[in-house]
Amino acid sequence: MEKISKPTEIKHQLGHMEVDHYHYTVGLAGERFFTALREEGKLLGARCESCGVTYIPPRIYCEECFAELDEYVDLGLEGEVRSFTIARIDRDGRPLDPPEIRALISFGEDTTDLLHLLGEVEPEEVYIGMEVEAVLKPKREREGKVTDIRYFRPIK
């Protein structure tokens, strides 16, 4: 193969792959989760009685036994930090100051964990097992989105 050896002779064409117009269906379990969050300020999970597992976010099926799930339970707004990371750059590689603290929040032994952010805490103060509570947006600002939870903060 004869190859190009002069960089000035290399040609590119800029393109744009348009992918930002979707209408994502939240589904049956998502309706329950986001309605409870928006209207009542509650976090719901879906319970599989036979496996003894509660899923948050809720789903209409159990990934262990494949049962259809229709039992929703209020998990409360308090949990603990299962793991966390201090993110110091944003998606474009720019430094984040203050950094973002991202965490997996556990709502108990038999419950799957929720990915979210921590706030009102310094990075060096966070530890695995730290007890935290959800800080919700005021009801009039809630839209039925995962960002209706602003972040989780340490329980004083």
Binding site: M17, V19, Y24, Y55, S83, R91, R102, T112
Partner: protein, 383 residues
Amino acid sequence: MREVSIVGIGYTSFSPVTPDLSWKELMFEAATRAYADAGIDPRKDVQSFITCAEDYWEGFSIFDEFTPDQLGAALRLMHTVAGDGLLGLANAYMQIKTGLFDIVVVEAHSKISDLLTYEDVLMLAFDPIYEAPLGGHPHYLAGLEMREYLAWTGTTEEECAAVAVKNKWNALRNPLAPYGAAIAREDVLSSPYLFAPLKKLEIAPLVDGAIVLVLAEGELARRLTDKAVLLEGIGWSSESPWVGTRLPDARYARLAAELAYAQAGITNPIQEIDLAEVDDRFAYKELQHLEALGLARPGEAGQLLLEGAFDLDGQLPVNLSGGSLGMGDAVEAGGLQRALEIILQLRGEAGARQLPDPEVGLAMSWRGLPHGSGAVAIFRREA
């Protein structure tokens, strides 16, 4: 029982950028070399072609329709696997094993330098309702998993840093690896905490390149070449896509390995496997994967690494190619990049990093963030 062998390998250089060649030309170059290596004519001898790709990496949709011509596959049987190269290899294995075909070609490539917004595209792999709206740089998930892996196993940050030191050093002996470097553990530990405890030098940089493998039925393989390498087993597994449902134990790797070991008749992997190439796109993943594969007991991979067990002259050399930390993260070509090193070693063609007499090698891939799926392939040198 029909056997499956690798009879041809072809690959381009691996480079952070390849501004002169289009992705199709990269594939053509690797394919041409693979067919020459196997001594076959793709227009006459190959019965089935398999490519591995993901539309978003390529920048256009319905990738599979764009692949036949540059592989010599026009008007022939072909399909695309939307996943890592080892999954394509698994498809080829089954096609030959079942007797459907005798010669099958597998291709995977990366032209990821064409993508100007890698992080944005990677973020599109996150759940659009529950995860993506939280924003951020997608690598934060690796920082989350790393911290939990360390807490679970007692593995230390020093041990994770040592993975990057080893693999970048190994890469210095691999002419195909652009990210080789002689660095000290201190260099890794003092590189910025981007997603603490994950550090900058523990993240594999991206790379371009293409790999093509030619597979043949065992008896035919022996007639075609005297350097056939047996593919004795291949397994794969997908865990829950929900980050909060998975544990930091890479169960996908364990389940994939169990299937591959059973097919290959391996009962004691530590004793029977001579070298391994495992996904290391984030340094801690190498240790986590080695434990999941049964090549170290849980929590012991880091200590074994510090003792030299996974070095070139250790009891189980790991990522002699340099891994992804040394060769670069070739997206869906990552699994074939791992397999390539095993095949080169078993053929005795690994140059300055050649092991004396390896018989059995393992290649393992992970699909990457944010998911928990992987594949394992076991290769054996012909007796």
